[in-house]
């Protein structure tokens, strides 16, 4: 089972007539890490278990049971993310966006958010939409922003739903239909 703990990421974009850049507020954990002893966790992580790698990354990030160290956190998230762990991909996205434990790099942030978004992670879909809307790390594309907001909205994200509606103001009917059918195709492919 995937560990749901994620970094909180709040993006401010919604204002009619203007965009603001995404902003990271707290790096606070949604859920406490499990209680596996550190030694066992390290062993599992070193043996390549991506959930263990993600959790070890979290412990480094929060300084739980060891000295806080974002550099090591980044390294463990990276290992887990390479194995397609979407929580780790999301966190790598946030850390790249803010230069935490690594050099800030918006294009790399987009790459990791995209992988997590394709893996069906709603916060990543939301963030990817914000990045598309603001043209951060990627060419601005309001249609794709709309599509990713719609997908996050379909997964129950209310802010994303509000954003999707707002973006419809800025798109032609044809563009909206195109975005909706792209979203539909994405969902069908994802559910296969």
């Amino acid at each position: 089972m995937k560990h749901p703990a994620l970094l909180h990421f709040l993006a401010w974009i919604i204002c009619l007539g203007g965009f603001q850049s995404p902003r990271l507020l707290a790096q606070e954990l949604v859920q406490e890490p499990t209680e596996i002893p550190l030694g066992a966790l390290v062993e599992q992580a070193e043996n390549g278990n991506d959930d263990a790698q993600f959790e070890l990354g979290l412990r480094y990030l929060s300084g739980t049971g060891l000295v806080q160290d974002e550099f090591q956190a980044a390294s463990w998230f990276r290992k887990a993310a390479e194995q397609d762990n979407m929580n780790a991909q999301y966190n790598l996205g946030v850390m790249h966006l803010n230069g935490v434990g690594m050099i800030a790099d918006q294009q790399e942030a987009v790459r990791w958010f995209r992988q997590a978004a394709e893996n069906g992670d709603p916060p990543s879909q939301f963030t990817l939409a914000v990045l598309y809307a603001n043209g951060r790390g990627i060419n601005r594309d309001l249609m794709l922003a709309h599509m990713w907001f719609s997908l996050a909205a379909a997964a129950g994200d209310k802010n994303a739903a509000a954003n999707a509606v707002l973006f419809e103001e800025m798109l032609s009917t044809e563009q909206i239909l195109q975005s909706q059918s792209a979203a539909q195709a994405w969902i069908e492919k994802f559910n296969e």
Binding site: V67, S75, E82, N98, G101, E108
Partner: protein, 351 residues
């Protein structure tokens, strides 16, 4: 030079370097020319000028070219761009590649004549078609920027490829940029990396950095921190601060190397001295927790303040957190230390 391939294509104006042609074999030598060369090599420039003038007068292309260079550089005579241009033109019309190239670059730079990209393009193209790599690069660049003709990325790509295959470093770098961004072709990171690697071997620091970044991120290649480290080090040796900061990160996180805070700090310091802001704040981070050294809030505050002064807004929150556990003397000591350090390292501060 930050984001993956903060790739950039620089217009490089053709640098005119004085070099006499001694061994252009395709053209017949001539007695005046040989005497001119002998005089030139003996350092008797007025005599060389006289001999080349005679050779030029009877239409000897190499003499015209060499005489043109002497006027262009003002050797043995006053500098005279207009004469140089005329002589290069005479020689270029006879098909001498170098003369065509220099004639083109004079039109390109507006030397001895009003700047004229069309003429420049024409003569670069003549030399390029004869296989001159520098001219092929120039034709590629003019196609890229739309100078002397309309922008044509596909043509730019072709000419850069011709020059790059002759190991022309700037063309290899620009090809990398075009392949990564998909100019004149489908974006192709693997091809881009291949050209960055070749340009890197030819000494381009930008190419070294870009290749390193692509290995670091696994772009166009399997992810490979070892190779990333190697190319970052090549760029760092050429003084690229972003490369130094990246090496610091690899050491701090133990990616591609054994984890080592001390090395991380040394690389961050080197980058920080050259004004790299992330490195300045990462140094603060190391001192704050005592990573690889005793904990030192005064130094931590100093580095975060420097980063903040250089525009890192996120540093402010850390500074106030640090300040909460410092007394007034410590804060002013940190500020004093920063002032002193900046006097030693003026490059560390953003203008």
């Amino acid at each position: 030079m930050t984001s993956p391939c903060s790739a950039r294509i620089a217009v490089r104006t053709a640098a005119i370097v004085f070099s006499l042609c001694v061994s252009l074999l395709a053209l017949p030598l001539h007695a005046d020319f040989e005497r001119g060369m002998a005089a030139y090599e003996a350092g008797d420039f007025p005599a060389a000028l006289a001999e080349f003038t005679e050779g030029a007068a009877i239409g000897h292309a190499l003499s015209q070219y060499n005489l043109g260079l002497m006027y262009h550089q003002g050797i043995g005579t006053a500098q005279d761009y207009e004469r140089a241009l005329q002589l290069f033109a005479l020689s270029a019309q006879q098909g001498l590649v170098r003369a065509q190239y220099y004639l083109a670059s004079m039109y390109d730079n507006g030397q001895g004549v009003a700047q004229d990209y069309r003429e420049a393009y024409h003569w670069y193209q003549q030399a390029a078609e004869q296989g001159d790599a520098a001219a092929q690069y120039a034709v590629g660049t003019m196609n890229f920027y739309g100078q002397g003709k309309r922008t044509d990325y596909a043509a730019a790509l072709d000419w850069y490829t011709k020059a790059a295959e002759q190991d022309h470093g700037d063309s290899q770098y620009n090809l990398g940029v075009m392949y990564i961004n998909g100019f004149g072709t489908e974006a192709d990171p693997a091809q881009a990396l291949q050209w960055f690697v070749r340009a890197a071997r030819n000494g381009s620091a930008d190419a070294q950095f870009n290749a390193a970044l692509m290995y670091n991120n696994g772009q166009g290649t399997a992810q490979d921190f070892g190779r990333a480290m190697r190319y970052f080090k090549m760029a760092a040796l050429q003084g690229v601060p972003e490369a130094m900061a990246r090496i610091g990160i690899l050491f701090a996180s133990g990616q591609g190397v054994a984890q080592d805070y001390v090395q991380a700090r040394q690389w961050f310091e080197a980058a920080a001295q050259l004004g790299d802001v992330p490195a300045q704040s990462f140094l603060g981070r190391l001192y704050m927790s005592g990573m690889g050294m005793p904990q030192d809030p005064v130094s931590a505050y100093m580095w975060y303040k420097l980063a903040h002064d250089n525009g890192d807004n996120a540093a402010l929150a850390v500074m106030s957190a640090l300040q909460a556990n410092m007394n007034k003397e410590q804060v002013s000591e940190a500020e004093q230390r920063l002032t002193n350090w900046l006097q030693q390292n003026p490059q560390a501060s953003k203008p």
